[in-house]
Assembly symmetry: C2
Homo-oligomer: 207 residues x 2
Amino acid sequence: MTPATGAPLGLGVLASGRGSNLQAILDATAVPGFPARVAVVVSDRERAQALERARARGVPAVWLNPKDFGDRPAYDAALTGALEAHGVGLVCLAGFMRILGPAFVRAWAGRILNVHPALLPAFPGLAAQRQALEHGVKVAGATVHFVDEGVDTGPIVLQASVPVHPDDTEESLSARILVEEHRLYPEAIRLFAERRLTIVGRRVLVR
Amino acid sequence: MTPATGAPLGLGVLASGRGSNLQAILDATAVPGFPARVAVVVSDRERAQALERARARGVPAVWLNPKDFGDRPAYDAALTGALEAHGVGLVCLAGFMRILGPAFVRAWAGRILNVHPALLPAFPGLAAQRQALEHGVKVAGATVHFVDEGVDTGPIVLQASVPVHPDDTEESLSARILVEEHRLYPEAIRLFAERRLTIVGRRVLVR
């Protein structure tokens, strides 16, 4: 699953939007000695800022237009093709807004990470920060987890909490959580690349 | 709902077991100037250590034996009678293992607090710490919330997080969470007694 010692792990980052988590990953992996590098960035949106961020670092940036594919299996096969062509050993979802099909998830089982702006299992799915505010929680947070076939249900690698302030808006809470996402995601990638993660049932043991 | 300024708020603590949260409340309320005092402790179990803790502080300790009452409404009516007889303005559940009926909850709406050993809405119900460990979360915590007719679903007053350690057992995690319970519960009582809590929908505004 991971390359031999010495060769950094190849990351395939899937992103649809702004790409702030991609940027955190690009920054972390640029530090000498980091055990992974971004091998390719793939987006379903031609104008995703994530693709620009990749190009700015000389990282291959691939736009896979869903309209060019007849169905989800065909799209997911092209995705796997692009990832394999770039020697990817770990897929990192970073604001990728397409649901990945079960065949893709199975093919990359144990090799797909996602970051979610909530303390899962609380508030899975879209607009987690708004869900948290509407529920009235006083503690929110971020989760990096392995991806399984459910929505934000996979084994949890790392979590961090942040306080919810009385005057928080969705924007202010999201910004506070994002700081933790940017910290946790590279750390989870490092742990994976250093082979320090073991999935046991739905628990992730960190060595 | 709360007594006039100067008279401390009367608390009715309901407990079935060891009473460690009761002890935290007794200790906090014993500090001069604290705006509440424990007016009565009620238990459904004759041998609950909570009752001994109350007596040791000279606080009225009432055993209400469920076997003496024909059904839940009758029991809950006796409970309300005992609380009113002692001038209770806020009911604090502290390990009370009986489900309170909807009539009781409605009668005391906005005047019942509970503490739960999880970051609600995650892991409601029994054995929350075990649920958290089995789910593989990396952050756990404690919640003080108003009680509504659901199980651990009421508006959240305060929460605090604790880390989950790789070698945690149910006991070690429970002990770490309990430290936060003992800190949060008196603080929530203070906020209520100082009339600084407002329930708006399912959010609690803290002034």
